[in-house]
Symmetry: D3
Subunit: 252 residues, 6 copies
């Protein structure tokens, strides 16, 4: 049994958790159990660094609780991968985000990829993530479709058209061999696009979930989990208690 | 008049704020006004990513308030520079951290620098910061003195001896031309060390404060502030209000 | 059903194929079918570039045949990953090698890894592979145990001792957070080592096989396969026939 | 008291020194004393490497004299930063050039910058400087306005128009968050441009001068000067005398 | 006497060997002896990685024989440089390919170069070669003329026109200071192009041949040959015999 | 006929020019004519950046004169390669220095090289040159023998012993496959060292001279000279005359 928790940080639009739960339930292995939650307060999306900062503590506390509840892996559902490094440090869960998962997958599928983002604003932070993962040499381009997160699903055919236009330009002009949809709110568009462009189109929601599921399997079988030496060395539980952090931050 | 706020994120040891206030008051320009605050709850130091995540929202809200109170610049007092990018996005303050300030300064003073850290745990995250600032080519080494933040000032002569031993090895074996003290809790050790080693030793507290003071001066005179295009484009105030974020996160 | 072919290129020691078949059969998912073959002629191991060059054509032809036989994925069983790029171009199989698979996995498990190789000779070519995959920033070190491939299993306790000594030095002196065993002939040593060192130790045989199995699953479900645009654009079948390559190279 | 010497290397157009003296006197701190000189012979501008080579020795000798006269810092007034490294080695002055100062400042103000140069000719050498300072990752683009140095001030409104056109393209097409004016002869254009483009526009003359002033302040207060170990280790005075270099090069 | 063997791997178009023999005989030093051979079976050109893989073993065996016949240097005649690393390992010959030779030469001739290739397909593999040789910083661009290898000489005036158009765009739009013709089938076009574009145009055939000739001269005079330590350490002859590789691969 | 001028910048020790003339005359091709000069004033060696700055103008003027005298190529005889870029810009000569020539050659001979320098002081500037030429990935190490330039030939057996000790450590501990002697005053030591270490040892004097000779041959035959577009675009002769530079700098 592999138990995965997908966290949509903040307070996403109504039904999104349920929609994702249905989607991931369709896509999971038989032996996987998946739940989708959000952290219960905060912004509706994470278009800004400020919003990410707001939701990370709640996300970490939710994952800490998830670990106690027996979950073995978690996805933090935002392409910026907010809190992923922190969660690997704090908990013993396997943790992954859509950004890292999509880039890792894309770089096996081809030599170069382009990321289709909503707005130019996103690019500098994502470029830092590309660099952190050693993928600069693989990045063909970022292309923006001029839609904020909250309008991605307002007019789906229009969004699909814009994504296709940007992705086609990436393949034809920028040398992209693979397309990554650079926002979880672009979920589901990959299938049609892939058929029209004849290159792999990575859906970040599926990439992250299937990566988490696979990594948990490896951990259960071979003991391969995030190293707790150096980068992910956890804070001492005694210190957390001595400093009374749970009470201070309103955690049960 | 230049108004700078130094924020010690979390709940640092008693007297630290006052000690820093006295230190910075001695070091400021006549026309500068400096205050030192902490965010009032949280961990005593930021040795772990989890602790950083906890204190960043409070830090951002404190800086937002500082902006309203008329401050023009801020230092976030931790060598990891937690929240610096977020604060540049959220506010119109000049914002800097000791890590970035020290590395920028050191790279003018010599071709290479070494950073003297407390524990090996700190190195991976700091190495990412070195890379983010394009300083890999300048980094001679990290050297750890095997002291957590909270023991840095327990036995100051012993700490001084360990720092000197590590710094001397960095100069003689690793090719360092400049030494950076890689923790705000190493403040004050630079002076003696500099005389003994005959290379510049950068104090991160002074480096950050004097950088903030200088940048605010440039902003006031020439209008050079953090660009609000792309990376630091701020979240719309209307959205923050519409999502009722202030109430949700207990901000006045 | 997922059908994977593991190819041990060249003519490996007797029983190796059978040993690997049993190993992979134990490790596979229920729905996976795995076979292990070698290419039937050539060197016993691939310690030299010349040996790699010799076995690549036979490997490619074996994979071309495998595709016709209905296999969906393949592992080329050597840590140098010989022929992987070529096979992705020539066939529609999912293809992976132990080197790439191990490095990709290790870089999710920690910030840095060290690779335990047999001889110094291997390092330059493997370093090129590290660079090709954008992993220079993740590489803590290579450490050699002074054993050629063909002596890796001669005295297994001695090999284990040497690997442990090298791996421990990598963790303690080089800053490695994860250890990669850098030769398929080091299979099986990971388990004991992992318990003694308290860091993840990646077995390259398992890493490659489980990666192939997972990628084939993604391909079958989402159509994500190696992009056939640019890098992996295949040679035209008509040209292969017109030039009579099959007859010239003795392929049926 | 902070004493800074601005050196315009070579024999710049009449009045330039006086114009810069007035400009810098307006911009200096009260406690700063600034003088502007040129080296008294040589080319009128440094558009070519040959011209730089010609003026560097005179510049170094002028700075050596400046050190004896009690100056504490110097700016070498050309965006190529000719002689800066040499002067840091030869003297104990704080030395900076407009190129380095502008890039350092711009990279605090935003994630990316573009440099507006006069001619394409300048780009390769400046790109080397960008790389030397670890700023490749920050460089959005170079854009040339097709004006040699000596025509920059011939028709100022036309120059302003060209710079604006190039800078606007850099922001809108190349992703620049900050603009650097890449020639000291572009001084003064920043103010108007900044208001029109809504991004910071760095004036290289002001950036260099204010950096020098600040660094001298730090040196006087904390002893932070260019490290004299390795890169900036100075030639032995005894050797300079023994080889009779002063007489040979006509220095008093 | 310097004896060089030019190998056209595979089975190139009739007369090509003879044409190259005449060309190189015209271009050689008086004391050089040059022969041109192909490997006698295989594809007509090496547009795909599969084709390269097919011809490398025959090429290596031909070079091994060449070494016995007294040749001192060899060129492997394809811009991808297939088998060059392997041949340096296996034999004591000086070995070079047109890609490496052209890039090394171009980077002395100017700061940047562009490579004019036949098809987009070639770019990812060539980009890897650029990176392997540390030339990313020198690469202005790749430009493709939309011709496969086998059509390069079909309509020579048309090919010349396409190359000129691509090369001119590289110089005028991409900042190239030097042009490299990125396919041996582009031999001879350099002369006219150079006169029209006023930048150096490197012919890969001449670049490779003259490099080989020069390196053999250095080896004969100073003993400078490919280091046999680490990267090019050769396989033990005893092992090659013990494994009966010659018989298995049909070598005499 | 190939005419090369070797310039020893400054005023080197008596007999050095004559010694080099004899050496190069022994090593030249029959059709080459070589002369050795120094610039007639200045420091005896170029251990410091200041000394380099002093000799570059005289060197450039000597090369300008050489061009008029019919020379076709020049070597600037110092491993720092002072003035090489400037000379390529100012003149139409082929120009090379020992540093660039040695590194280019070494990187064909093996994957990695170490440079044996006199003093630690030299390393930062040489490391910048390594980076400028894209060779960071090839650099195994710098090793210093603690001898200034002027003592390199004082006790030649002792110098040889020190070089051997450093070079052996580079091969055995740092992974060097090739050794570069990083100072022209180390000329001649390569031969004995090469036999003792069994790796190629590059003599910088021979490397530079033979590179110049070869490049001039290519220029004469194929017109391949330094591109005069962008980086090496020369200053206009009219401007040089109008500004009366020759008179100002005492050139005939």
């Amino acid at each position: 049994m592999t138990r995965i928790l997908w966290v949509n940080p903040g307070e996403p639009p109504a039904n999104l958790n349920e929609e994702f739960r249905q989607l991931l339930t369709r896509e999971k292995e038989a032996s996987t159990e998946v739940d989708v939650v959000s952290t219960g307060r905060g912004p509706r999306d994470l278009e800004y660094r400020y919003y990410e900062a707001l939701v990370i503590p709640d996300t970490l506390h939710r994952l800490r609780q998830a670990e106690k509840e027996g979950y073995e892996g978690a996805v933090i559902g935002c392409f910026y991968d907010p809190g992923v490094e922190e969660a690997r440090e704090l908990t013993n869960l396997i943790v992954i985000g859509p950004g890292e998962a999509s880039m890792r997958l894309a770089s096996v599928l081809g030599h170069t990829f382009s990321v289709i983002v909503g707005r130019e604003k996103w690019i500098p932070q994502m470029r830092e993530n590309v660099a952190r993962h050693g993928m600069e040499g693989r990045l063909a381009s970022f292309r923006a479709v001029d839609l904020p997160v909250c309008e991605m699903r307002t007019d789906e055919p229009e969004t699909a058209r814009r994504i296709e236009r940007a992705a086609r330009a990436a393949v034809e002009e920028d040398g992209a061999e693979v397309i990554i949809l650079g926002c979880t709110m672009e979920y589901g568009f990959y299938q049609d696009l892939q058929q029209r462009l004849h290159v792999p189109v990575v859906d970040p929601v599926l990439a992250a979930f299937k990566t988490a599921e696979w990594l948990v399997g490896l951990k259960n079988r071979y003991g391969w989990s995030h190293s707790k030496v150096r980068a992910y060395e956890p804070p001492p539980e005694g210190q957390i208690r001595a400093w009374d952090l749970a009470r201070q931050y309103g955690i049960d």
